[in-house]
């Protein structure tokens, strides 16, 4: 058991590759983290540097209805081929999250693919998003096209590149990222 004494890599570490999209849509620090399974399925999560997760902020509401005509909650897939799932592009909004200070953030797909499911648990328990942003507080699950499963991560940063971006940021700005409406 000696080697297991050391903290073993987590489930996420073992089966998923972490990809990052920083400053999404030019909004400073709105970083997303995409967990890609070796079977190409992607789980969209907030990166730990996202403003929502800073300074003990609280969530007022999470809304998967991204426009009058479109709610991600209506997404239904059927069969092995996941017929009927909404097809998303990189900049497709997944949900809008409003913090108790009334600042609203939009979470984006970041990759092209078919929407398989959104996480309804965070609607009932928004704290999941704050406490476990990279596991139970995930935002959505997306299945990229088979032929695009390699190329969808082309515009994303690796874990190392992401860490470099974040440390550069802290160097420029002594304080951690602040929300900037």
């Amino acid at each position: 058991m000696e080697e297991a004494e050391k903290k073993a890599p987590s489930v996420t570490d073992r089966y998923y590759t972490r990809w990052y999209k920083t400053d999404m849509k030019g909004k400073p620090c709105e970083d997303h983290c995409i967990l890609q399974h070796s079977n190409r399925i992607c789980v969209i999560t907030l990166a730990e540097s996202h403003p929502i997760l800073q300074n003990g902020r609280k969530i007022k509401s999470i809304n998967y209805r991204i426009s009058d005509g479109c709610s991600r909650l209506n997404n239904k897939v059927s069969g092995k081929s996941k017929r009927g799932g909404q097809f998303l592009t990189e900049f497709a909004p997944l949900c809008r999250i409003t913090c108790t200070d009334n600042i609203e953030y939009t979470i984006f797909s970041c990759i092209r693919g078919r929407l398989l499911e959104v996480n309804e648990d965070i609607l009932k328990q928004p704290d999941l998003l704050l406490e476990k942003p990279s596991t139970e507080g995930y935002i959505a699950v997306i299945l990229p096209k088979l032929e695009e499963s390699k190329s969808i991560t082309n515009g994303l940063l690796t874990r190392q590149q992401y860490e470099e971006v974040v440390s550069k940021r802290t160097a420029q700005q002594p304080k951690p990222c602040r929300d900037q409406p």
Partner: protein, 528 residues
């Protein structure tokens, strides 16, 4: 002896005139005696001619006038063109028919019952069978004939229908011996003798011969316009004129309509059939057993992602390789009662599996030989072990997947917990009984399975302490429960999960399948 009756003579005469071969004449006379077809062609010809002259001898008195008026036009034509005298009629007709019988290709069978019923073609077929190197105790012959043969058969039938009905009202087209059967009767004796095995109507070993005749393929085409509904294009078939479709169309078409579109009797072909390659096929053998998997780096079936092999070897290949070489099979299909992940071991009695061995060149293995095979498999790798290996029926293979949901499985898992483990944690786990959990299709299989929430039952659990952050978890669960996801929660998609139950981050480091309880197949063999 051809067992022809006196009333057959008009049929015989008409068919010989139309250009039918001797064996086809026997067929249309409904001769059902196999041995008649086994005689050499020349001998049947001679007997037919002898039969005709005998019949003519008997008929030449008093019946002459009637013959003159009732003869169908084609015979009249022949009679007209030949120098027929009142007394010499028998000689004349014999002299006339002889060349037709001997030198020309039959309008009905396109030569199948002429040139391919001899010893030289038989030897050719047997040579292929011998080269293919099968072990077999008997064989069945399968014959595939060009579809247009049915059209020609129908035309010949219409040509002599009246005479057959005169012979006996009971006889109909179905009583005519089929080309296929006549062919088998003619050669099966020789094939059996050549190969030293009986040729039966049913055998696990099939030798297929076939013929094509491109010259007359267009014979069928008129049916497509007269009976268009019988010829629906299908994806896999190169031509819509399959034998089945042609037979169906001929069944529907009226005699008058047929005669308007197709000559009766059929036109003489310029060439004989071309034989297709002879092929051999042995019915699959099914073999079943249970396997243990002792490696955490071995998938059950080859693991391929994007066309690339992810890991060397697989359970099915380790089992199949020795079997393929012993049975000398062309391929296999593997089936098992469920499957385990690459990194999961399968211990205990093992997981039931069955394998279909395709086209085995050797199919018979006795109990001792099967046990020997099992030893060969087990000696070939220490990653797996096979027991209860036995030859089973096709049905048993099908039942492998039955009742999978009802089965109970037991597992053993090595668990890591973030918090320090206490005795009350272990007690808490042991007290959980018949826990219902809801599992969304795990993310790790979601790319190939439908998204659904399935309820599963954890019947019981027990935990034994290893160190502050590790314990061994034994689980009895409903089959189909995803154990890994029950432990780590799969992003909260399995509820409840062990993380939630223990109020700690927990992870599964190792998993073994201990046993599948209640599995009817295969029979456990006594300790070997």
């Amino acid at each position: 002896m051809l067992s022809l009756k006196e009333k057959d003579s008009p049929i015989v005469r008409k068919l010989l005139d139309a250009g039918c071969c001797a064996r086809c004449v026997l067929r249309f006379c409904c001769v059902g005696k196999c041995s008649s077809y086994q005689l050499p062609s020349e001998d049947i010809n001679k007997e037919l001619l002898a039969f005709l002259s005998e019949a003519d001898g008997e008929q030449s008195h008093g019946a002459a006038e009637q013959t003159q008026t009732e003869d169908p036009p084609c015979k009249k034509l022949k009679l007209d063109s030949a120098p027929v005298g009142q007394d010499g009629s028998s000689e004349a007709s014999a002299a006339h028919t002889e060349p037709n019988v001997q030198s020309e290709i039959c309008v009905a069978c396109l030569g199948v019952l002429q040139d391919f019923c001899d010893l030289s073609y038989t030897k050719q077929v047997c040579e292929v069978v011998r080269k293919a190197d099968y072990k077999f105790g008997s064989l069945v012959l399968a014959v595939s004939l060009p579809a247009q043969l049915s059209v020609r058969e129908h035309s010949c039938w219409l040509h002599i229908k009246k005479e057959v009905k005169e012979k006996s009202m009971c006889l109909d087209k179905e009583d005519v011996v089929q080309v296929k059967d006549a062919f088998k009767w003619a050669i099966q004796g020789m094939v059996g003798k050549e190969l030293g095995t009986p040729v039966l109507t049913n055998s696990l070993f099939e030798v297929s011969v076939g013929f094509t005749h491109p010259e007359t393929e267009a014979d069928c085409h008129f049916l497509a316009t007269t009976c268009s509904d019988c010829f629906k294009p299908t994806k896999n078939k190169a031509s819509v004129f399959t034998r089945m479709a042609v037979v169906k169309a001929l069944d529907k078409i009226s005699d008058a309509k047929f005669l308007r579109h197709y000559p009766c009797p059929p036109v003489r072909p310029a060439s004989k059939c071309t034989p297709l390659d002879t092929t051999c096929l042995h019915t699959s053998v099914f073999i079943a057993g249970r396997y243990n998997k002792f490696s955490r780096e071995l998938p059950q079936t080859p693991w391929v992602i994007d066309g690339e092999r992810r890991m060397e070897g697989s359970v099915e290949e380790l089992i199949a390789d020795p079997l393929l070489s012993s049975f000398r099979a062309d391929g296999f299909n593997f089936s098992s009662s469920g499957r385990e992940d690459v990194d999961v071991r399968t211990l205990g009695n093992g997981r039931p599996f069955a394998m279909e061995l395709l086209n085995p060149h050797r199919a018979k293995f006795n109990g001792a030989e099967v046990r020997q095979l099992q030893e060969v498999i087990n000696a070939s790798s220490d990653k797996i072990r096979v027991r209860d290996l036995q030859i089973v029926t096709r049905d048993a293979m099908g039942r492998m997947k039955e009742g999978e949901e009802e089965k109970t499985k037991s597992y053993s898992a090595l668990i890591w917990t973030k918090k320090a483990i206490t005795n009350s944690d272990l007690d808490f786990i042991a007290n959980i009984k018949e826990l219902k959990i809801d599992q969304k299709t795990p993310l790790r299989v979601l790319h190939r399975r439908p998204l659904a929430v399935r309820q599963r039952v954890i019947h019981s659990m027990s935990a034994s302490y290893l160190d502050t952050h590790h314990f061994r978890l034994q689980l009895h669960t409903q089959a189909g429960t995803y154990i890994k996801e029950f432990v780590h929660g799969d992003f909260g998609r399995t509820k409840p999960n062990l993380c939630a139950l223990m109020e700690s981050e927990v992870d599964i480091l190792e998993l073994d399948v201990e046993d599948s309880v209640y599995v009817p197949l295969p029979t456990t063999l006594d300790d070997l």
